[in-house]
Symmetry: C2
Subunit: 210 residues, 2 copies
């Protein structure tokens, strides 16, 4: 009797969870290139057989759901820590933060447009989007951000501009510092900042410059 009195069902093996994470990582990488890659290719990328994958995830949807949950929580956790009094700088910072979570962000972005998780995902991402929209609205009120585009629309365009850069980053390999700078400049450009003003703000904001 080492554990309980009756039938000790011996706990999960450690490598199991390890493989589960490997599968999620592989899925993230593979689906980033091909949104409807087969489970076979995902399992192979994780160094496992397709049959083994079913030991960790009941169905394909289950895998994707877990992947998205994992990714969304990463993204939300990362962006939640970002704060700044200037709404423009805040938005640039959020963009830069998203850059650091490229894979998760892009997978999430894929499935906000296609697939059966759109609504569910949109719901999970709502707090972040609300925050962006709020910052845009506040900035437009103070005159810090352009007000010639309706805030809701501008918020979505900012989101789009960030995703644009992330797309570009996956095609041509971009190193972290330039990538972050590009995201910041894109966001600020969309917010109505001229090139000089944008550069000045980036240079003046250490979190953006680093």
């Amino acid at each position: 009797m080492t554990q309980t009195l009756d039938a000790a069902p011996r706990s999960r093996r450690r490598d199991a969870e390890q493989n589960r994470l490997a599968l999620l990582a592989a899925a993230s990488a593979v689906l980033n290139r091909d949104p409807d890659a087969s489970l076979d290719s995902i399992a192979a990328a994780a160094g496992l057989s397709r049959r083994a994958l079913y030991g960790h995830f009941a169905t394909r949807d289950d895998l994707i759901r877990s992947l998205l949950a994992h990714g969304v929580s990463r993204v939300l956790a990362a962006t939640d820590r970002v704060e700044h009094p200037d709404p423009a700088a805040l938005l640039a910072l959020i963009g830069v933060t998203l850059w650091r979570e490229v894979e998760s962000v892009r997978v999430a972005a894929q499935f906000t447009v296609r697939g059966p998780f759109q609504h569910e995902l949109a719901l999970a991402l709502a707090p972040l989007r609300d925050r962006v929209r709020h910052a845009v609205t506040v900035g437009a009120g103070t005159g810090r951000i352009r007000d010639d585009i309706e805030p809701g629309m501008l918020a979505r365009l900012v989101e789009g501009s960030v995703l644009s850069v992330l797309d570009e980053a996956t095609r041509s390999a971009i190193d972290a510092p330039t990538g972050e700078r590009l995201v910041a400049l894109s966001v600020l450009g969309m917010l109505g900042f001229g090139a000089a003003d944008a550069r000045a703000l980036v240079d003046a904001t250490p979190e953006l410059h680093r």
Copy 2:
């Protein structure tokens, strides 16, 4: 003997070409929402049976190839007519012109990233992209356009920002005038124009304002 001496093979019926065009239009519309929609759904959207589709296009690839050829020629024809001495205004104009070909542009954009036509398509679109890149380079030289982003990259980011707006346009229905204005402002923002300067340029350029 009405026509030739030997076997007069009676020409194509007119409704055949009509149906062919209907299929292309349906494909454009359906594939815009779902890039890998079935031939069944496309044929149905054209008011035909899947079996009839094979009377016009040998294979799925054949249909898509024709669709892309059709779309690319539309896009190139439209943008070829656009000229302007100011590179920034030219780029905004090209963007606005692309807005007027939303469906073709978006279908083309889809297949530049996924599917077996990537290289072929990129080749066909090269002249337009070269033109964008050239305008960016020239503008950066004169100081009219930001030079803190490498021209090649900036050109792709401009392309991305246009596609962003077109994406947004397909989600939320946007009327033509505001859509064109959004495209112009997005492009100019990416080029380094502040909100005020961008608005001034748009107002001063009748082809952009209309």
